[in-house]
């Protein structure tokens, strides 16, 4: 019998609520907010995985998610929109989207993995902005207006008609991603990666290939982000360069930081917080369309006051994490001091 901790209780309740959501929540909540929360959570989880276990805070996750989405859009649309209009089946579109995104992630990762800390942050930010500008300019694959009418595969059907199908698909994907990330962190590869995060020089002198481990971790995170990108275009039916602009890149960073950059669960907590604030703040008269000022202020407050995000607050309240020999907040890159560049 496993010990009952506040964490596990909350986890079980959250899972039960998520599974039964279509029974108690309105159709709008399930179709718009909760589904969006799930795929934003997956992208943010890929960011948190890199930051918690690899010490790499990446701003390229949204670019990779967008690349997967644009590939799906180009591959599966049929004639009535911008892009290549290849007219493949959505399944092959999904496979192509994930493969291309993983390949791009490998190149990005291989180039950036010799840098750490804020250098890594800067390099991945340039990837993100360049990807956005590229899709805006290259009219062969998208152009400014983007790609519309992207179909979801048969088992999901038309999203407007059957919102619950996409919701459950995203839920299953989220659970699988969560389980996979937890599993990978415990494999020899994951443990080595954590060693690389804590002391790259020592790991290199022990004979481990530091750059290769970082590159593989980045490629793996690209795979996770690509899954979210596919879900996003199925949900939205449309993708344009604004879906991956600097604002969207920072939105996912905000989600990850609000969730806490060191526990993968935080990704979905942050995403739920984000979509709910995004949805309801517009009804508050003095905020209205100024959602980004609000989210920027919340982000600023969290970074200043509670670098562990909401999960950090929770751990402080429940007393969890303190006194444990493997205190997870040790993994929070925001609270770690200056990191020396280069290996």
């Amino acid at each position: 019998m496993r010990r009952v901790t506040p964490d596990r209780v909350v986890g079980v309740i959250a899972l039960a609520l998520a599974v039964t959501a279509p029974l108690w929540a309105s159709g709008y909540w399930v179709a718009a907010l909760l589904t969006q929360m799930l795929f934003l959570g997956i992208v943010a989880a890929s960011l948190i995985f890199l930051s918690a276990y690899g010490g790499m805070v990446s701003l390229a996750q949204v670019a990779i998610y967008g690349i997967a989405g644009f590939v799906v859009g180009n591959a599966t649309t049929n004639g009535n929109t911008k892009g290549l209009n290849l007219g493949w089946s959505p399944y092959w579109g999904m496979v192509a989207g994930i493969l291309v995104a993983v390949a791009v992630g490998f190149v990005f990762g291989a180039l950036a993995s010799r840098s750490v800390g804020i250098y890594f942050l800067m390099i991945t930010l340039t990837y993100s902005v360049i990807a956005n500008l590229t899709f805006g300019q290259v009219t062969d694959v998208s152009g400014f207006g983007g790609i519309s009418g992207i179909p979801a595969p048969g088992f999901i059907g038309r999203v407007e008609a059957h919102p619950n199908r996409l919701y459950y698909s995203a839920l299953v994907a989220s659970l699988l991603v969560y389980a996979l990330l937890r599993y990978v962190a415990r494999t020899p590869f994951g443990l080595t990666l954590q060693g690389v995060r804590d002391d790259p020089v020592r790991m290199a002198s022990l004979g481990y290939n530091v750059v290769l481990h970082r590159t593989i971790a980045f490629t793996f995170a690209a795979f996770i982000a690509a899954i979210a990108g596919v879900l996003f275009v199925w949900w939205n039916g449309h993708i344009d360069p604004a879906s991956i602009d600097l604002g969207s890149t920072i939105d996912v960073l905000v989600i990850a930081v609000i969730g806490g950059l060191y526990r993968v669960e935080g990704a979905w907590v942050g995403a739920l917080f984000f979509v709910v604030i995004n949805n309801y703040s517009q009804q508050i008269s003095f905020i209205g369309p100024r959602f980004h000022t609000l989210i920027g202020a919340i982000f600023l407050l969290i970074v200043l006051v509670s670098p562990g995000g909401l999960v950090g607050l929770w751990e402080r309240v429940t007393g969890l994490g303190s006194g444990r020999h493997d205190d997870p907040s040790d993994r929070n890159p925001i609270e770690v001091g200056q990191v020396e560049p280069s290996v």
Binding site: V57, V107, L111, A112, R114, S115, G117, I118, Y119, L121, M122, I123, L125, T126, Y127, V129, I130, N132, L133, T134, Q137, V138, T139, P188, F189, L206, G207, Y208, N209, L212, H213, D245, L246, G247, I250, L253, V257, P289, R290, F291, H292, T293, I295, G296, A297, F299, L300, V303, L304, P307, P333, I334, E335, V336, G337, Q338, V339, E340, P341, S342
Partner: protein, 372 residues
């Protein structure tokens, strides 16, 4: 993991042989890459670019059309001048304080917008398309530029004192703080200045063409003035950093902050000064950029990108690196836009990525970078 590269090496001799082989392969690959990325494009621009057929370019090769070649060259150099003005502020702040100021692009845009509003207040709104240069004299440009620069410099210092001073050394946290401020500024600018692109009018004395009397080149004076401003700024920064006492303190602070402090020098004052100058350069860049092109929401991201690319290429914290980085970025983007086949010119943005990728592959710390 079965991949051998992930396992510990079994024998040292094995590893040595492996490394020697790898070095030789990398050597060959490196030269091959150099040929592909430098020699081939150079040959294309100088001799091969055609004016007709499937691969037709706008101007044809340099031999065919030397005038447009030189104009593209000038465009690249003058674009680099503006990149340098903005990126030198970014690299100055980083070099001394290890702060990556992600709000640099927002400061650029804010400086431009403040100058725009001041100019409109001084001269009037102009017609439906804004002011034209004929309505604007030198004072109407310089006064807004100076005021905008000072306001943004003050904002930069305030940001540094309130949000960054107390968490020195936590560089990721500081970067995230400046990102938060960049989000808020960008959203507020959208609310106050709207989403329509607007531009600051050059003074009428600037708005003319200069005849080079070479190849019949007529070139806009404003671009040459930008180049002049950048050269003056570069020279002043160099003199300041190399020849004055403050500059000595800054350079010493870059190397060993704690030691400088222990010698009784008020390093916090120097930090504030560097932040003021760095933010002021972003704002001045915004005024020039707003006169040269235009101001619109989203440009903050572009200019943050340019600053990042310049310092990633040149190396963080190095003034010479910022100059070389700006030049490479300016020339690459302009030549790519002018000499790609006409039906593919919109791929020129990819060349920015290729430039970054090559530099990172060869020198992860940038051309002039050194470990902190």
């Amino acid at each position: 993991m079965t991949d051998t590269a992930l396992e510990r090496p079994r024998a040292v001799s094995n590893r040595a042989r492996h490394l020697a082989l790898r070095r030789r392969i990398l050597h060959v690959v490196g030269w091959a890459l150099l040929v592909v990325v430098v020699v081939l494009p150079a040959l294309w621009v100088l001799f091969l670019a055609p004016t007709t057929g499937k691969w037709a370019t706008a101007f044809g090769s340099a031999v065919h059309d030397p005038k447009d070649f030189w104009i593209t060259m000038l465009n690249g150099i003058t674009a680099a001048a503006l990149y340098f003005v903005v990126a030198s502020g970014f690299t100055l702040i980083f070099g001394l304080m290890r702060v990556v100021n992600m709000a640099h692009g927002a400061f650029f845009l804010l400086g431009g917008y403040i100058a725009l509003k001041l100019q409109r207040n001084m001269v009037g709104e102009g017609g439906g398309f804004g002011l034209t240069s004929a309505q604007v004299n030198l004072t109407h440009w310089i006064v807004p530029a100076i005021v905008a620069t000072l306001i943004v410099a003050a904002m930069g210092v305030t940001m540094q004192q309130v949000f960054l001073r107390w968490n020195q050394g936590q560089d990721l946290r500081q970067a995230l703080i400046t990102i938060a401020i960049a989000i808020i500024l960008a959203d507020q600018m959208l609310a106050h200045f709207g989403g329509v692109a607007e531009d600051i009018a050059w003074p009428r004395n600037f708005d003319k063409f200069v005849n080079f009397r070479v190849e019949g080149i007529q070139y806009t004076a404003t671009r040459l003035i930008i180049l002049g401003i950048a050269l003056v700024i570069g020279l002043l920064l160099w003199l300041w950093l190399k020849k004055t006492r403050t500059g000595m303190v800054i350079r010493a602070g870059v190397d060993d902050r704690a030691m400088v402090s222990a010698l009784g020098i008020n390093i916090q004052l120097t930090f504030a000064l560097a932040f003021a100058v760095g933010s002021a350069l972003a704002a001045l860049g915004g005024v020039i950029g707003g006169s040269f092109a235009s101001l619109a929401p989203g440009l903050d991201a572009n200019w943050l990108l340019y600053s990042l690319v310049v310092v990633i290429i040149g190396g963080m914290g190095s003034l010479a690196g910022a100059a070389i980085g700006s030049l490479l970025l300016g020339l690459t983007t302009n030549f790519a836009a002018a000499y790609l086949p006409s039906s593919y010119t919109y791929y020129s943005i990819i060349f920015t990525f290729i430039l970054v990728a090559i530099v990172l592959a060869v020198r992860p710390l940038g051309l002039f970078g050194r470990p902190a």
